[in-house]
Amino acid sequence: MTVQCKYCEKRAQLKRPKTGHAVCKSCFCSIFEEEVHQVITEYGLFRKGDVVGIGASGGKDSTVLAYVLNELNKRHSYGLKLHLVSVDEGITGYRDDSLQSVKRNESEYAIPLTVVSYKELYGWTMDEIVKEIGRRNNCTFCGVFRRQALDRAALKLHVNKLVTGHNADDIAETVIMNTLRGDIARLQRCTNIVTGSESLEEGDLVPRCKPFKFVYEKEIVLYAYHKKLDYFSTECIYSPNAYRGYARSYIKDLERVHPHAIIDIIQSGDHMTARVDAKMPTRIECTRCHYISSQILCKACILLDGLNSGKPRLSLTKASRPLAVSKEVCSKKDKVSKGKECSGSCGCAEIQGNDINYF
């Protein structure tokens, strides 16, 4: 029995993971592109003349993002100057290979590529860091360093917007992670399609956006397959984040029961606010590297200090310490009911008070 494509006369060749609609190959690809275009216009992600840096890892998400953005830019005359930005963490057998695929994209799509490396920025490669600290916390180093590295590259290239390939699955997963961690501050903003200027804690200098916020990972894979895009599909050899792995497979399980769950989780994330007003930390500059920071030293500098002085573990706790300035306002009611003054550094009573003993 042949099923007809929902949108044209042709025979349907696949079932859209997101909606379950039967579609043909070419309709799938054009819907995929059209939906990204809609998000870009609806949220006003770009302005004419923007220099847009595409965080390119060589993986499927950023490869598809570069390809689609390049197509849409031409098709709808966005007037963007695109630039591929890659970070070389210095991971033998992983990043050196994936960078090869970014380089091939550079020539295929004719988008210039700039690579910044941890080695040149920080004096350490990830291989060296792992040798120093073992495999346990290396993702923390990598995450902090990568964030800054992209910003630094963006500044160097006069890029005024960074786009990343985070897809709907990634964002849903982050909502779940932050719920499990009780990280309400991040929960409030982790689904924002544009982050940057307003979110100091992350320290972004250049606004970042996620045009794939509503794009399912499965559809990215399908799109890359049908367009025969060249990407690198090995996972980072140092990524042992078991906890995130659990959240990931939870999302997959939910998707299996009901594909719409991913969008529903993002919808939730978009509408989550904290009960107490969280006072936003004031922006200061890192006294050493002048990167934006909320402490005297930025996270990267603290971690680097640790590495260079041979005490990387100590620096980990320092860097992950809650921000000194981010006090949550303690409401009067809590003070009264708990019968004690809030200490000021607050959590507030919710965290310090009775509950903690029981849990």
């Binding site: 916390n137 985070h166 932050n178 719920t179 961690r181 009911s337």
Partner: protein, 376 residues
């Protein structure tokens, strides 16, 4: 993006070391026999005292209950409400200064119509148990929600008549309408719908009979699952209502959850210590589970349970996350016709919030026409 995420510089590690087995009671130093929470081993006596204290503290902290006030207790026969009722009973039996100051009546909602009217010896036993406790109690069939007057639908028991409930009114018509609504609702949404209707029926009952507080048996384990489940269903900050001590979504009425800080495990311990009998009447969750039909709720329940076994603070952290959420105080007040929450989403042509809209999605024709009946 593999298992590492650009936006994430936090990495959790599981506590791989097996928790030390604490053999001594943390309170009195005697031999411990209960470990409900890690590092909190207790002997039976101390655990019982802790349990009672915590229950009373939850009630007291709320400062909601007035002297001599008649409060309704929603009793399902399940382990949570059995424990809740026994705690209340103990509170009422206390000597003067410790005695609970309010009065409690019990309501049992008979959901049998959805599961083939399986009123059986278990139900009889449940009623016998209830009667020995000496509470005034009501039995109300779920389908009476569709009847204009609940006064005509209730079955009251006093301590003398024990036996099969004889309903004075036939609810066949209501029953078939209700069944139609459930038949047309997607199987993974049925439990959600049942819970909403149960809440609405309790509300209707409370309004008609002049109660303004209803005690519910939900525990922390259940509520954290509910919270995460709500997030997976697009509830956002509104998920907070499902777990607060006093849920005030229905005007003039408090749904109170005095058991909300107990882990499921603690309730099991307590019920076992006191040798209380509890019952498992069917619901869509258990029906789906035994039919191996997975649902968002099951997946969530299993996920949290597994994570909690690896990371013993999971339940409490999720629970606290929920406590920190605040529904938006937007000027506009859209009250969802199904869950009665003020929601911030402006979806055109609907009186439902995002999440309820999703419950009603993909339903077969008739449901949509029947739905307005529920909006009362």
């Amino acid at each position: 993006m593999a298992t590492c995420n650009d936006n994430d510089d936090k990495v959790e590690t599981f506590t791989t070391a097996k928790p030390k087995l604490y053999s001594k009671c943390v309170k009195c130093g005697n031999k411990a026999s209960i470990i409900a929470r890690i590092k909190d081993a207790m002997c039976i006596g101390c655990f019982d005292a802790y349990y009672v204290h915590k229950f009373r503290a939850a009630l007291g902290k709320s400062r909601l209950f007035l002297n001599e006030e008649r409060v309704l207790l929603a009793y399902s026969g399940g382990i949570n409400s059995v424990s809740l009722l026994s705690m209340v009973k103990r509170g009422l039996d206390e000597s003067s200064h410790k005695k609970l100051q309010f009065l409690v009546d019990v309501i049992f909602i008979d959901e049998g119509c959805l599961f083939g009217d399986t009123w059986n010896s278990e139900n009889i036993l449940m009623i016998e148990n209830l009667t020995t406790l000496g509470f005034r109690f009501y039995i109300l069939k779920l389908e009476s929600y569709l009847h204009p007057s609940l006064k005509l639908c209730i079955q009251t028991f006093d301590t003398l008549t024990i036996g099969w409930p004889v309903y004075t009114i036939h609810l066949e018509c209501e029953k078939s309408r209700l069944l139609k609504i459930f038949e047309s609702c997607h199987s993974s949404n049925k439990q959600q719908l049942l819970e909403l209707i149960r809440y609405k029926l309790l509300t209707k009952f409370a309004y008609e009979f002049g109660y303004n507080k209803i005690l519910m048996g939900d525990n922390a384990t259940r509520l954290s699952t509910q919270l995460l489940h709500g997030i997976c269903r697009g509830k956002g900050s509104l998920a907070n209502y499902d777990i607060t001590f006093a849920d005030t979504r229905f005007p003039g009425l408090y749904f109170c959850r005095p058991m909300r800080e107990f882990l499921a495990k603690e309730i099991v311990f307590s019920v076992n210590i006191s040798k209380l009998k509890y019952f498992n009447f069917p619901n869509f969750d258990s029906v789906n589970r035994s039919a191996n039909k997975s649902s968002i709720f099951h997946v969530t329940e299993d996920f949290l349970a597994e994570l909690h076994s690896l990371q013993p603070f999971t339940t409490s952290t999720v629970f606290r996350t929920g406590n920190k959420l605040s529904p938006l105080n937007t000027g506009q007040s859209n009250i969802c016709a199904l869950c009665m929450l003020t929601h911030e989403y402006s979806i055109t042509n609907t009186t439902l919030c995002y999440s309820c809209q999703r419950i009603c999605d993909n339903v077969k024709g008739e449901f949509v026409t029947l739905l307005p009946i529920l909006f009362m």
